[in-house]
Amino acid sequence: MHARTPQLSRRRAVRVALAALLTVPLPAAVVAMLHRLRESQSPTIVPVPPDVPLGLSVMAGLVIHRSERDGVRAFLGQCTHLGCRIERVVGDEVVCPCHGSRFRSDGSVAAGPAARALKPLALEPDRATGGWVARVL
């Protein structure tokens, strides 16, 4: 009695090849495409006018704090909880309209659900306007 050698049928071979294609090269290609896409993203330049008011204010996706002592500081006006845009100042804090997180003028969390401070942004002087620009990715 001869032992039967397992034979790879043509149909099975095609299936295996397709499965191999779906499990490794295609997902790899998708990841590569997305990776390249992410790399190609360029920062948005947001102008901060010279007459930004004293205290907390929000403008163009930024949270700005200006004081006599510390000058002008900028934070990304995006709640660190889930990315909602912060558009309102309430008293000495900015507040996220979606879930109610509050942040102090130094960006720190005053009330959750957000757990992380607002992302600080570097401001570069803008000689054309006398104000500043912030780069937001």
């Binding site: 992410r38 929000v58 889930l82 309102r88 309430v90 979606c98 109610g100 659900p113």
Partner: protein, 925 residues
């Protein structure tokens, strides 16, 4: 087997099919209407394309409605279908693989719904887009790539549009076909659903959230998640929980019946709990997700109304392109086109109508457009949502809310001090008129004072008059020019005739703030506005105000509230044409963000900020060094030539927009309303002579007169009703005031700590009899009588400044100036070279303390306890009185312009030492 079948419940089946077939029918309607909607919809300009649809394309709106309602029906019916099969235990009829895909289709249908919500592109959708993209990106390992795949890299809606309309829709349809084994839904199900959805779509149109309403909410089925996310800082946990629920749903098919029943019970409990959370989010969450009853009425929610309703007020054909506000189609301006008068900053194409007035700017149906509209915006209760929007005056409105005009802190604090037991401390924390109680002194404030605070709501359109109070931002910034007045009259007439033609001229909202805006409130209490114009209140009973036969002075005036005033001496600044706002700055009037305890604490500007000391120059800075708000005001005022000027910095440190030093070094005041320039004179040399007068404030010498009301009686009368200005209703019992005679005499002098003229030292300042009164504090019936007596003077800046100073005698020889009250002050010779001052009061002594009715202090005496409405002031002490009267003794013989008295101004001691034998010096023994 048969017994198991017998226990199974039957699948719900209506005449038009099961929940499943109805859900499939809804799905098909949604797909077909979505295909039609693709023509007018622009994913690259989502909000504007839908806004144009709502405004000017009723048929397009109908198909959008059909798409929306078919989607909602599909979701609800799919959930009902799932519940129906779980209830009937029929899940085992489908293969495990099919069940897995059906579970996935529940998630996919939810995704289609959510992505459809994002495609609105309105304020809610933009925030939801950010949340979903961020939540996806936060999924471990695959999150960032998945977010890119589903939402794209740029934030544009084109990628999600493809996933919504193609990817997810095709996959779900394939799953449905596999499950139902039909390509098309049953015709009766399709017709029934189509009929129902057409009816609903003709009557209810989902709106667009324009962002003016600060409440941000997701779609109704997402509100439970929004509530959960409010409580958790770990969004991934929520995503995991959602996956777990889907896994449980899948488990139902693969575990045995007993366990499946437990899982089903668990799923039902989750569903019920989630529905409760959705209801909580809808009805109990407001702005910033704060807790509190909230009716879901934002502009993004569906509005009832016939889609093809006629729009009689709109022009035919509609203007093309549609009018826009900040680049967005705006329906208000279709009917209210050509409205003038608002000025450049608030011109209709810049801010539109709805940003201030509310309503719905995305419909031409008048009733729907005007629903929820605020005809008179700017009241403090709503100003944060109107004037104080983040893109407008967000930093100013909170300041105004804390300002003394809004809090009335000074009025409340002083009145409470007067009512409190003698010796109780005044000042301290700044009280707020809105927090007044309903009894005793607080009721007195409610009835007698609370009409004036800025938070009082303006309820009638029209210009502010002598009897207008409150109105928030409108109290100062609303002004009617003749065209606006005429337009208002024409509108009223057309409304009376039943036509109600909209006015074409709007009152101005801006910086043209005349004295009339200040008059209604500031003609009361200290009567600053009336005194400034030279009007002195006569003490006439209101009933006599309209009596033409009553003897009156040659120039008199009757105010709208029937108070009668006679013309005396106006303030020199008024005579020169200056308005209140020419001296008073934005920080003084609107507050600086601090809740001050009194009006004087909020003031920043004094006489010396415009009138330099002899030989000195006013400190000035370039316009580039002004604070941002001042620069903005300067740009709005646009005065000619001001770019070459330097701006004077007040002693408080605040730069003054309209007080400038021109290129030649001349100080000038620019009238804010007209731009007219006025030269500013320096102080006279005598003002800086020193020699005893260095402590005098400018007002001590240059105030012509002050309104004086020496005596009054206040008591509570429980028998009569009086209006409560805060409750806006009549209440039983009335605090009644009986005033004594009124006088227009030069003010009394006293001392104030920390006055601007002297920095932290005491300065001589101006006072009037503020509260010399008997006060019956008995409030409740049956209480023992509680009558107290108060003799309190109040510091005042009367606003009756004159160029000429009051005479030396009017201070040194005047008993009223020294605080003794009216009467005869005489120097009587006692012996050679020695005399004695005597005083005979004109007013009778009051039994409570034996002093004349109008006195602050006894003649050559002093008082203990509370002497003023404030803690930082005092009358002259005995030593100071003696020094003043010693000079007064000289003035009894020597004219104040005589050489000895002129020398005495600089060095009185030397002059006295060199006096002649005939000179009299007063003895104090």
């Amino acid at each position: 087997m048969s017994s198991d079948r017998a226990r199974r419940a039957r699948i719900v089946s209506t005449r038009f099919g099961t929940f499943g077939s109805l859900a499939t029918a809804s799905f098909v309607v949604a797909v077909v209407s979505g295909v039609l909607l693709a023509a007018p919809y622009d994913a690259g300009d989502a909000y504007n394309s839908l806004a144009a649809l709502l405004l000017a394309n009723p048929a397009g709106t109908f198909f959008r409605n059909l798409h929306y309602w078919a989607g909602q029906a599909c979701l609800v019916l799919t959930l009902l279908h799932t519940w129906d099969h779980l209830r009937a235990r029929t899940e085992r009829r489908v293969a495990v693989g099919v069940w897995l895909r059906l579970v996935a289709s529940v998630a996919l249908i939810t995704f289609i719904m959510l992505s459809g919500f994002l495609l609105r592109g309105d304020a809610d959708a933009q925030q939801a887009y950010r949340i979903l993209r961020e939540a996806t990106a936060q999924i471990p390992l695959v999150g960032p790539d998945l977010a890119l795949l589903v939402f794209g890299a740029t934030g544009a809606l084109s990628v999600i549009y493809v996933q919504h309309a193609a990817t997810a829709t095709i996959v779900v349809w394939l799953f449905v076909i596999e499950h139902s084994r039909r390509v098309w839904p049953r015709p009766d199900s399709l017709l029934a659903m189509l009929a129902a959805l057409v009816v609903v779509s003709l009557l209810a149109s989902p709106g667009l959230h324009d962002g003016l309403d600060p409440i941000v909410k997701g779609p109704w089925y997402f509100l439970g998640l929004q509530e959960i996310l409010h409580w958790t800082p770990w969004p991934n946990a929520v995503v995991a929980a959602m996956v777990a629920v889907l896994a449980l749903l899948f488990t139902v098919r693969v575990v045995g019946t007993p366990r499946a029943s437990i899982v089903k019970s668990l799923l039902v409990a989750v569903a019920i709990g989630y529905a409760g959370l959705c209801a909580t989010g809808a009805f109990m969450r407001g702005e910033n997700w704060a807790w509190g009853p909230t009716w879901p009425g934002a502009t993004g929610n569906p509005r009832l109304g016939w889609v093809f309703a006629s729009t009689p007020g709109a022009p035919t054909p509609l203007p093309s392109p549609l009018p826009t506000v900040m680049g967005r189609p705006d329906g208000c301006l279709v009917c209210h086109r050509g409205v003038t008068g608002l000025g450049n900053a608030h011109r209709p194409d810049a801010v539109g109508c709805a940003s201030c007035h509310g309503g719905d700017a995305l419909t031409l149906d008048k009733a729907r457009a005007h629903a929820g509209m605020d005809v008179i915006p700017g009241n403090l209760a709503t100003a944060r949502l109107q004037c104080g929007q983040s893109a407008c005056h967000a930093a100013i409105v909170p300041r105004v809310e804390r300002s003394v005009m809004a809090t009335m802190s000074g009025v409340v604090g002083v009145t409470r001090t007067v009512f409190a037991d003698d010796g109780a401390a005044a000042g301290g924390a700044a009280p707020h008129v809105a927090e007044l109680g309903h009894e005793g002194v607080d009721l007195h404030l409610r009835q007698a004072c609370a009409m004036c605070h800025l938070g009082r709501k303006k309820t009638e359109v029209g210009p502010n008059g002598e009897d207008s109070f409150g109105g928030g931002c409108n109290a100062c910034h609303l002004s009617y020019d003749p065209p606006a007045r005429a337009a208002l009259q024409a509108y009223a007439a057309s409304k009376e005739a039943g036509r109600a033609e909209p006015p074409t001229a709007h009152p101005a909202i801006g910086l043209d703030i005349g004295n009339g805006q200040c008059f209604s409130c500031h003609s009361r209490s200290g009567r600053i506005s009336t005194s400034y114009e030279g009007w002195h209140e006569m003490h006439e009973p209101p009933a006599d105000a309209s009596d033409p036969d009553r003897p009156r002075p040659s120039r008199y005036r009757v105010l709208a509230d029937t108070r009668v005033f006679e013309q005396v001496v106006p303030d020199i600044h008024h005579q020169r044409g200056l308005d209140c706002i020419d001296c008073h700055t934005a920080n003084e009037t609107m507050g600086d963000g601090t809740a001050h305890a009194s009006k004087s604490a909020q003031l920043r500007v004094g006489c010396e900020d415009c009138h330099a000391r002899p030989g000195a120059t006013l400190p000035a800075v370039a316009a580039t060094q002004l604070d941002p708000e001042s620069r903005r005001i300067l740009a709005l005022r646009d005065w000619p030539g001001v770019a070459r000027d330097r701006h004077v910095r007040a002693r408080s440190g605040e730069p003054l927009v309209n007080v400038v030093v021109d290129g030649t070094g001349r100080p000038q005041l620019i009238r804010k309303r007209t731009g007219e320039r006025r030269p500013l004179k320096a102080m006279a040399a005598v003002c800086a002579e020193g020699g005893g007068h260095e402590r005098l404030s400018c007002g001590s010498c240059h105030t012509a007169w002050a309104p004086r009301c020496p005596t009054c009686h206040t008591a509570f009368d429980r028998r009569i009703e009086r209006y409560d200005w805060l409750a806006e209703a009549y209440v039983q019992g009335s605090w009644e005031e009986e005033a004594g005679p009124f006088f227009a005499n030069p003010p009394t002098l006293g001392l104030r700590r920390g006055a601007a003229a002297t920095g932290s030292k005491e300065a001589i300042d101006t006072f009037v009899p503020g509260m010399i009164m008997t006060l019956d504090r008995t409030f409740r019936a049956g209480e023992p009588p509680d009558v107290v007596f108060r003799r309190l003077y109040a510091r005042i800046e009367p606003h009756t400044t004159r160029t000429e100073a009051r005479s030396c005698k009017s201070c040194h020889n005047d008993p009223e100036a020294l605080g003794y009250g009216r009467g005869q002050l005489r120097l009587e010779r006692v012996s050679p070279g020695v005399a004695r001052w005597t005083f005979v009061p004109a007013a009778p002594a009051l039994p409570q303390d034996g002093l004349p009715a109008d006195a602050w202090i006894p003649f050559l005496g002093t008082r203990t306890g509370r002497v003023s409405t404030r803690d930082d002031v005092r009358p002259f002490n005995v030593e100071e009185q003696r020094r003043i009267l010693t000079v007064g003794a000289c003035l009894t013989c020597h004219d104040e312009r005589s050489p000895p008295m002129q020398r005495a101004v600089r060095d009185f001691k030397t002059v006295v030492a060199a006096r002649r034998p005939a000179c009299l010096l007063p003895s104090w023994k």
